[in-house]
Amino acid sequence: MEYTVAKFLQKTLNKIPVSGLRRILEEWDFLSPAQLRSLDSAKYGPALRLKVLALCEENHVQTKHVIELDMIYNHAYSTKRNWSVFQFYEQQELTYTMKVTEFVEQFTANLKQLTSHVSVVIKQFEDDALLIRVAWGDNFKRPNHFFPTYAVYHPHSPYVFISHLGIKQRPLLLQALLIAAKYTDIKEIQLKGRCLKSLRDLVMRHFKPIPCPKASQEISASHPNITNEHAKHQAYLKLVADDAFGEGTLPLLETAVFKLETKFKDPVNRILENKTDPFRCVIKFSSPNLLESLKSSVELGIVNGALSPLLTSISLKARNHFVIKERMPTNAPGP
């Protein structure tokens, strides 16, 4: 697709839901208050967007303005993207006050050194997070503004959240981030999700299950009254659930993927008993709110007692991509 400012603006506007358009335009501050007021007459989405487009062209809109609009949109609607989490290791020098301007300069300079034709814009929002937008080009092409990479970095934390990073651009971006943030190593941790705040809470351990020591004592009590027994059992299940997940709202995750390479065990029929290689399968859990679903599985009694260690490790280890391997004996004699 041939790039023009108008096309870029139109695509960006089309992404913004009508309900949030006005707020975002106000934050953008490109249209004058009088122009914003004139938008009131257009009620429906397409008409409203056409009017905004016309007004922007009147104001001689440029690429840098649209980039800003795109960034405001992506900050407000960060859940529309899928974010991967990266962690920095080994800080080079212990600096308690990292200057944001220095980071921005270093990052931009480094990235431009590594590759030509790249557009970098960094913007700081109120919550101290740096939103980094990189549009990639190459020696023969101008930066592609339609598919930019976004990264969110909180200075003073060793985590960075990246979305839409191509395999070719990956080493470039990671190296530039490393140098600018003054660390020696960066690794992807196996956690992906849409809600940035939840991902941050998970990796920074802001979310901690509160252990309930009473949970294990309740089970042996016997009651003649069935209703009472049932209520007790429900209370017990709730305790177990709270034990694993804590009370209150849970971080929002949509998926968890387990790649299982384990031995197939069938003690009854002894199927595949002599198979030496692991049995390979991939199990994906998906739900609008995965941790909430898992918590309710304990409360509803679908799992036997406590949740399996594999499922609890999603919140404990702050990960949602796992490869489970079993140490396999090379020449397996039967157990």
Binding site: F258, P267, V268, I271, R280, C281, I283, S287, S296, L310
Partner: protein
């Protein structure tokens, strides 16, 4: 009986399912209900049940490949489309030799419906043309009626001459390996196609259904595919591995949690095949026990890791690179492999679902 054997295969003692299995197969419920009926009705329902009893094993004729019997162009009509499944009661006074006039009649009926002001989401100034054809070779037994394929083409009324028509809707009626006893018990002049598959806008499906109901005095209903039939398909497709290669076997479940949790279980095809091979004994047929055990051990493997009973939820989809089938009555063939066995299964299911 069908579900009883299925249960006994599942109730293998072991440390895995230590809590009682709460899944309640329909077989139990219908068995209990029958005892409450008066003796004559009981006899009738028993007769019906014995007529339509699902088999405890299935023939999977490997040599009997559809591609050798049917023209490749005709197979390609069936492959790659998402078919919505329905059951149909026997058609009165249907004749394979009159399909040309049916084409005209249905075209006229669609035009009339459009005139009547039935909400049309397929363009108001379009003209429709219907074509009935026969696909020879899908029918297996002597009593089976040859499959009928219907296509509806559309063209803009003011289109420039030479523009090609687009197929907007297609559907077919089939009968594969249907119970001969049942077919012979039908009164004369009835033709039986238990299975009806449609692909295209819902409104057009509704119009075609109405036309059939008016013309042949029949009735339609949506066909859903239950757990055991989905399991049969999983077994049949896995068994194809010896003739065609495919990458994976994917089983999707949904668990009734708050919010609902979807679980997709993707099994590496080589390991799945090895597992199937250790269960499967005879070459030409798959038995109910084998199928039940296959699913049971896969579910136990899951339970061993996650301590969650998949049986609490519902199996909603089975997919491989050979085809996809969903619980709510959708099927997509991506290869002609074992199509006869699959169509036999669907025909049987349609006969069972049909109210008599």
């Amino acid at each position: 009986m069908f579900f009883f054997t299925c249960l006994s295969a599942r109730d293998v003692p072991g440390d895995l399912h230590s809590t009682p299995n709460i899944s309640n197969p329909n077989g139990y419920a219908s068995g209990n209900l029958e005892t409450g009926l008066p003796s004559s009705r009981k006899y009738a329902s028993f007769r019906r049940f014995s007529l339509h009893k699902p088999p405890s094993s299935r023939e999977i004729n490997k040599a009997n490949n559809l591609s050798q019997k049917i023209e490749p162009e005709q197979i390609s009509l069936l492959i790659g489309k998402d078919w919505h499944l329905h059951y149909v009661t026997p058609l009165y006074k249907f004749s394979h030799s009159a399909i040309r006039s049916y084409s005209r009649q249905l075209s006229a009926f669609i035009a009339a419906e459009k005139q009547k002001g039935v909400p049309f989401d397929m363009g108001s100034d379009n003209i429709f043309r219907v074509n009935f054809s026969i696909i020879l070779g899908i029918a297996e037994k002597e009593g089976d009626s040859e499959a009928v394929f219907i296509q509806i083409y559309t063209k803009q009324f003011f289109a420039i001459q030479g523009t090609t028509e687009n197929v907007i809707w297609s559907g077919w009626l089939a009968c594969v390996n249907c119970n001969t006893e049942y077919i012979s018990s039908l009164p004369p002049r009835f033709t039986y196609f238990p299975l009806f598959c449609s692909n295209g806008p819902e409104t057009m499906t509704a119009i075609v259904r109405t036309w059939f109901q008016k013309t042949f005095d029949c009735n339609f209903g949506n066909l859903s595919i239950n757990y055991s039939n989905l399991s049969w398909l999983a077994a049949i497709w896995t068994d194809c591995k010896q003739t065609v290669d495919f990458k994976y076997l994917k089983l999707s479940w949904t668990l009734p949690l708050r919010p609902p949790l979807d679980v997709t279980y993707t099994i590496n095809s080589e390991d799945g095949w090895e597992l199937w091979n250790s269960i499967h004994k005879e070459n030409d047929q798959i038995t109910l026990e084998e199928m039940g055990q296959f699913m049971y051990v896969l579910e136990s493997h899951f339970f061993r890791h996650f301590k969650v009973h998949l049986t609490f939820g519902e199996l909603i989809e089975v997919s491989t690179s050979l085809g996809v089938v969903q619980k709510n009555g959708r099927i997509k063939f991506l290869s002609g492999e074992r199509m006869t066995a699959i169509l036999t299964l669907l025909t049987e299911n349609a006969v069972l679902m049909m109210p008599v």
